[in-house]
């Protein structure tokens, strides 16, 4: 007798919690792409853990019907790494934003790439701190001149894809939220690829960066096929205009997975340490 394989629909991954993002926010599309990718892969919702930090994008676990953890600012990758090494059977997807992921969580980003644990890191990049009302983030353009950054920041923006490659990420892609089908396909490929997969999704903030509505006319399919050659990828990413979308690098490093032995820790002793 063969076991019945259940086909999942996008709706199976949607929770009853209504998103409170601003109308027009790119994160709505990203949420759709998540559920579409999960359905495409036929992943049971209870076998997925969506982990996040703090920020608009980090609300995403609540809007899915998967297991989730809305953690502390910038620490989503540390939480996710701990989960994945102890529960390698789970599909771990980490959601972050450019502030959470590249500033407060910047150091975790480097080491998560380096460790190459088998999980997928999705950064919804809108070049601004949206939740805290519009401060410049690490990817904000230097000339971004507002009351909160008079005269612009004058600081060159962070290049997350270059940093990811240099630090050892095993899969690197850029997507645009306004292309939800392609984003879903890339997310599915990222989840399937062994090791640390990094997907940057350009996701406009319509409230604090209305100029980002123009991104839909600025993004373009990367004119090159994906590569597994780090040198070639480095040259491409260093000369990238920031709007190439598609899978840009697919490496073949072996993922890090520590062998888990039987623990001699007495959990009741551990619990005592946290007693109030």
């Amino acid at each position: 007798m063969s076991a019945e394989v259940r086909a999942y629909k996008q709706a199976d991954y949607k929770s009853d919690v209504k998103p409170i993002w601003c109308p027009g926010c790119g994160d709505y599309h990203v949420l759709m792409s998540f559920s579409r990718a999960f359905a495409q892969l036929g992943l049971p919702p209870e076998q997925i853990a969506v982990i996040s930090g703090i920020g608009c994008s980090s609300r995403i676990p609540a809007y899915t019907n998967c297991y989730g953890f809305h953690g502390v600012h910038g620490r989503s990758l540390a939480l996710a790494a701990g989960l994945k090494v102890t529960r390698p059977d789970l599909t771990v997807v980490v959601a972050s934003g450019d502030g959470d992921g590249y500033s407060i969580g910047g150091n975790h980003f480097l080491h998560a790439c380096r460790r190459n644990i088998d999980m997928t890191y999705v950064v919804m990049d809108n070049h601004i701190y949206g939740m805290t009302k519009g401060q410049p983030s690490p990817t904000t353009e230097p000339e971004f001149d507002t009351a909160l950054s008079p005269g612009g920041t004058g600081v060159a923006p962070f290049h997350p894809l270059v940093v990811a490659l240099a630090s050892g990420a095993n899969f690197i892609a850029r997507c645009f939220s306004g292309e939800p089908n392609q984003t879903a396909d890339v997310l599915a490929a990222a989840i399937k690829h062994p090791g640390f997969s990094f997907v940057e999704i350009l996701s406009p903030c319509v409230t604090f960066r209305p100029d980002e509505k123009a991104w839909k006319d600025m993004v373009h399919q990367a004119p090159v096929t994906e590569t597994s050659d780090q040198g070639k990828a480095a040259r491409r990413l260093m000369t990238d205009d920031g709007f190439n979308i598609g899978i840009l690098y697919r490496g073949n490093r072996t993922p890090f997975q520590p062998a888990l032995g039987a623990s001699d820790v007495d959990l009741s002793e551990l619990e005592k340490e946290f007693e109030l």
Partner: protein, 176 residues
Amino acid sequence: MSKTAGTPKVANLNDLLAIAYQIEIDAVDRYKLLADQMETHNNPELVKVFRDLARAEGIHGEEIRRMAGDFDVAAHARQIAKFEKSESPEEADLGSAHYMMTPWHALQLSLAGEKRALAYFTSIVETTKDPKVKKLAAELVEEEAEHVALVHRLLLRYPKPSENWADDLDPPVSQE
């Protein structure tokens, strides 16, 4: 590139019924999502507009289900009605939503969706070799053309808002 690149393949009448049904259901889901957004952002006039649009698309979906008779059009739609290169034709553009949008804007989104559906079914008429598919697709073209005309009539009730429709006396934060 062909006119139907990235759109689901229409091999027979059942495929077309399933796709037409899915297009309506996708539109319903999208309008409900927009209504929820407007509810969250306290724009009750738009909540009603989007819920009304969702209801109208739901009625169209039910009409297609009835046309399919005993054939399980919803189940078939889940199998084949996948738009790979774009969103489903009648899905309103989420990126165009704004918390202060007006019924005129909502109807513009609706109009664009109806026009995309019209273009999609027109492309089926132009490309199919199956006379039954061609006949049904032509009926769907006629129906979508009626919807386009209906939205144009509705727009007469809602003139284009002034240039400063998005000015918020209590904005999220001053960026000036």
